[in-house]
Amino acid sequence: MAEKVLEVKDLVVEFKTDRGTVKAVNGVNFDVYKGKTVGVVGESGSGKSVTALAIMGLIPNPPGRIAGGEINFKGKSLVNIAGEEMRKIRGNKIAMIFQEPMTSLNPVFTIGDQIEEVLELHQPNLDNKARAAKAVDMLRLVGIPSPEKRVHEYPHQLSGGMRQRVMIAIALSCEPDVLIADEPTTALDVTIQAQILELMKKLQKELGMGIILITHDLGVVAETCDDVAVMYCGQIVERADVKTLFNHPQHPYTKGLMESIPSFDSTTGVKKERLQTIEGMVPSLFELPSGCNFQDRCKHATEVCKGIQGEPHLRDIGAGHQVSCFHPLN
């Protein structure tokens, strides 16, 4: 078994709003292992990005706060540690890349400056020359052509794919143990997405970091992750290794998500059937039903789902496969 580098236990994140307090993340559990990738999938508003921000200690407080649970990095709790201490870990041991490479780079500094900034903060023993050399090395590592020249360029001189490579270079410059990638390829074209995913896989092999990949694209998950957690309304509804999840989805929501993507199966030219859909829409976090959050959109819902015996809980149904449903599919 690989070494466990990060553990998220019963995490609850609350936000105070004018309409009351909402739980954006409500009891989330998962582990990240060295050299492995955990996928967190869900639709907008399911709490996947908030989970990531909580791990990074970046939940704006107020209005948000971590209301419960634990985040342990190599056995050390990250909840309620001092700002100074968190700063030593953030960007150094746990790094993050964001969806928008356009807005997450500073337009008035060269990309070299921006890589060196991280090194200056976290590796003070390096002198100017060594930092500059390391910046070039990092650009070479992420596959940017003629890095010696590119290091002096500004973000606007690079394409979207190149910018995302720079983001990865910045995140990996301190060789973190955990990399959180929040929709890293959503803003990119498919051919560029394929390049970036390939690059992340290659770097993971070389550097051995654990990756948390947050995405709404099940295809990306199927091709890059080892374990998957499916989120709905701030909770994990199903968790399994990638093969089990895609071959035997147990939660009606997981299955529904998979079926609503058109697939290339029908290459015969016969008239295609309608897409399967999930009826209705994600409920507002202010008006969550009692019982199972998915009951109103679920074909299998019964009385029990309305919460007469409490809420469904994530329970084991076989080797590392957990589902939070009263009526798992088979």
Binding site: E43, S44, S159, G160, G161, M162, D189, V190, T191, I192, Q193, A194, Q195, L197, E198, H216, D217, L218, G219, V220, V221, A222, E223, T224, K243, F246, N247, G256, L257, M258, S260, I261, P262, S263, F264, D265, S266, T267, T268, G269, K272, R274, L275, Q276, T277, I278, E279, M281, V282
Partner: protein, 323 residues
């Protein structure tokens, strides 16, 4: 009467780049370059390509929302590039557009009722108050929105519902042809499937013809009868959608299909990863624009732009070394 509702011939759109002290033209972007295609009545033509390949410019040029530089657009037998403003307004009743971003394309200060009534107002349809009310309710019914939506404002709706409002607005004037410019790209997967189904149902019920623009090949392949692939302003391949997947002739199309991550473990395939980025359309490569990224490129590809070749009646492509 021809069976084709829309025919586009050698359409070009060139955006000049002004520079220097006197604002002289220093270059140009050929966003759409000699594109020709036809769409039959009741058919869906899918248009795919990566960002910057000119698919949106092409869609808007067809409605003359962007004035084409040259070429012809023949709608129902008439060349609309020669039309004046009045004639154009009249013909736009028959050709409508749905945009990508349902948040930006609805006026936040108008109720849904006003939004849907505006196109009827402009085109003088259903002027009788009772008629109009009836028509508004019918539209809401067609896009499966509740009746009380009429008095609500766009912010009260989710993304998927807003896109339904946009679809209803396009349908308000009973068009024959709709340009769908990335109508589902901004939506979550489960909602995306609902909107795709809705568009297909409406096509069946109302006999609509679509030009469906998207970068998501899976959705395009699903909804379209035929698919056209664009690269840097040129149409590089057109085929029946079931011919294209698996039977593509152009290396770019093949790479595009193989780059899509598959969620079905049974269909994991070997991946072609293209080197490099899409070149700048300001300064496209010589010869075939795709040659710097193509693994089959030869000397010929650097010198001359390939002409259109047909492998069957429905399958055309532009490549010196087809697969």
């Amino acid at each position: 009467m021809s069976e084709y509702l829309l025919e586009v011939k050698d359409l070009c759109k060139r955006f000049p780049i002004k520079g220097g002290l006197l604002g002289r033209e220093v270059g140009a972007v050929n966003a759409v370059n000699n594109v020709s295609f036809k769409i039959k009545k009741g058919e869906t033509l899918g248009l795919v390509g990566e960002s910057g390949c000119g698919k949106t410019t092409l869609g808007r040029s067809i409605l003359r929302l962007i004035e084409p530089s040259s070429g012809q657009i023949i709608f129902d037998g008439k060349d609309i590039t020669q039309f004046n403003a009045d004639e154009m307004r009249a013909i736009r009743r028959r050709m409508q557009i749905i945009f990508q971003d349902p948040y930006a394309s609805l006026n936040p200060r108008m109720t849904v009722g006003d939004i849907l009534a505006e196109p009827m107002e402009i085109h003088g349809l259903h002027t009788n108050k009772a008629d109009r009310q009836k028509r508004l309710l019918q539209l809401l019914d067609q896009v499966q929105l509740p009746k009380d939506a009429l008095n609500k404002y766009p912010h009260e709706f989710s993304g998927g519902q807003r896109q339904r409002v946009c679809i209803a607005r396009a349908l308000a004037v009973e068009p024959e042809f709709i340009v769908c410019d990335e109508p589902v790209s901004a939506l979550d997967v489960s909602v995306q499937a609902q909107v795709v189904n809705l568009l297909m149902d409406l096509q069946k019920d109302l006999g609509l013809t679509y030009l469906f623009i998207a970068h998501d090949l899976k959705v395009v392949e699903y909804i379209s009868n035929r698919v056209a692939v664009m690269y840097l302003g040129n149409m590089v391949e057109v085929a029946e959608s079931h011919e294209l997947y698996g039977g593509s002739k152009h290396p770019y199309t093949k790479a595009l299909f193989s780059a899509i991550p598959s969620h079905d473990p049974k269909h994991q395939q070997s991946r072609i990863i293209l080197e490099g980025d899409i070149p700048s359309p300001m300064n496209p490569p010589t010869g075939c624009h795709f040659h710097p990224r193509c693994w089959k490129a030869t000397e010929d590809c650097k010198k001359s732009y390939p002409i259109v070749t047909s492998s069957s009646e429905t399958h055309q492509f532009r490549c010196h070394n087809p697969l």
